[in-house]
Symmetry: C2
Subunit: 201 residues, 2 copies
């Protein structure tokens, strides 16, 4: 999931780790931001896999006498997506398997980069997500119906609020699906990089 988000952000422009984290936090919705303890290892993995390239200033340049003990001495590192990384991003973007919607976190990131995804794939992901959330809702419903009598006020309120949240999410997804279906013919199919541009324009 982190991999996907990083590729998506670097796909737009190269960035520092710090900037990456800020943008990430915004995508993830303000709450639930990502920590450096996840970000930097992920960047390291992706660099090792050849998905991104790093560009850091020469560590030992223009240092005449080294009066400070030069411990640390870190420079800014700019991360850039490679051709391989773009390829990987497009694989991920076109994937509509269950992993795309079963996890809420990944689904959110997928949504944030939906403009890179074809309309039919978008529809499959949205519908898959709705099915997942509907299953959760049914589980919650039956659990609540089974235990309603034994629960005190606060536990009951907790379950009720959770159920309503899930319910609202289903309705929200349904609206998105409707919009997507209606706009399917008219929406701009985004970014077919090597493809032939459609006749219009």
């Amino acid at each position: 999931m982190l991999e996907f988000a990083i590729l998506g952000l670097l796909h737009q422009s190269p960035m520092h780790g710090y900037e990456l984290r800020k943008q990430l936090a915004q995508i993830l919705g303000g709450l639930r931001s990502i920590s450096y303890g996840s970000l930097y290892p992920a960047l390291k993995r992706m660099h090792a896999a050849g998905l991104i390239s790093t560009e850091e200033p020469d560590p030992h340049a223009l240092l005449p006498a080294d009066a400070p003990p030069l411990t640390g001495r870190r420079g800014k590192v700019v991360y850039t997506i490679t051709a391989e990384g773009k390829e990987r991003f497009h694989e991920l973007v076109c994937d509509s398997g269950p992993e795309a919607y079963d996890d809420g976190g990944l689904f959110g990131v997928r949504l944030a980069f939906f403009r890179h995804t074809a309309s039919d794939v978008r529809l499959r992901i949205l519908e898959g997500r709705r099915r997942t959330v509907e299953r959760q809702r049914e589980g919650l419903r039956s659990s609540l119906a089974r235990t309603r009598e034994r629960l005190d006020h606060y536990t009951l309120e907790l379950q009720r609020h959770g159920l309503e949240s899930v319910d609202r999410e289903v309705r929200w997804l349904s609206e998105l699906i409707d919009t997507e279906r209606r706009g399917a013919a008219g929406g701009a199919p985004p970014e077919t990089p090597g493809g032939s541009p459609p006749s219009t324009k």
Copy 2:
């Protein structure tokens, strides 16, 4: 957080790990259940800390000849809360510090065991939680206002839905607070174990 939930459950009755996990999943709201990889180490830690005691059937009893190689040979383990564990639980239950509401997961568990918490502490926790969520809401709001023009349809919808969810949570908390305030005089102050029972009965 896990520690709190386990103590709370064992406070009601001794249990197996398996049963513990099921109850835990129900408290956590169906989604977001706890895994064995978290549960058993937690139980081990708590046993080492003296908060719970284990009761397992004698491993080498009534085995005349050991025809099976007896590898594994696990028996059911019943976990029981100790006096020390009950003490720890009451400390946690009376704690209304920021850690009780800043983390949504712990707050949910706290709610699930609110019947063990005095009304004034309940009120402090609910109000703290509301302040936390309100801060999140303001962050989301300003972020959304700042970037509304640059966002595509789906990113916008994602942020909007997130903001509405947070907004609903604030309203829900406000209702809980109102109820708690109104019921403060009449609500049963629960479970003062060594304390003096109030004059009424």
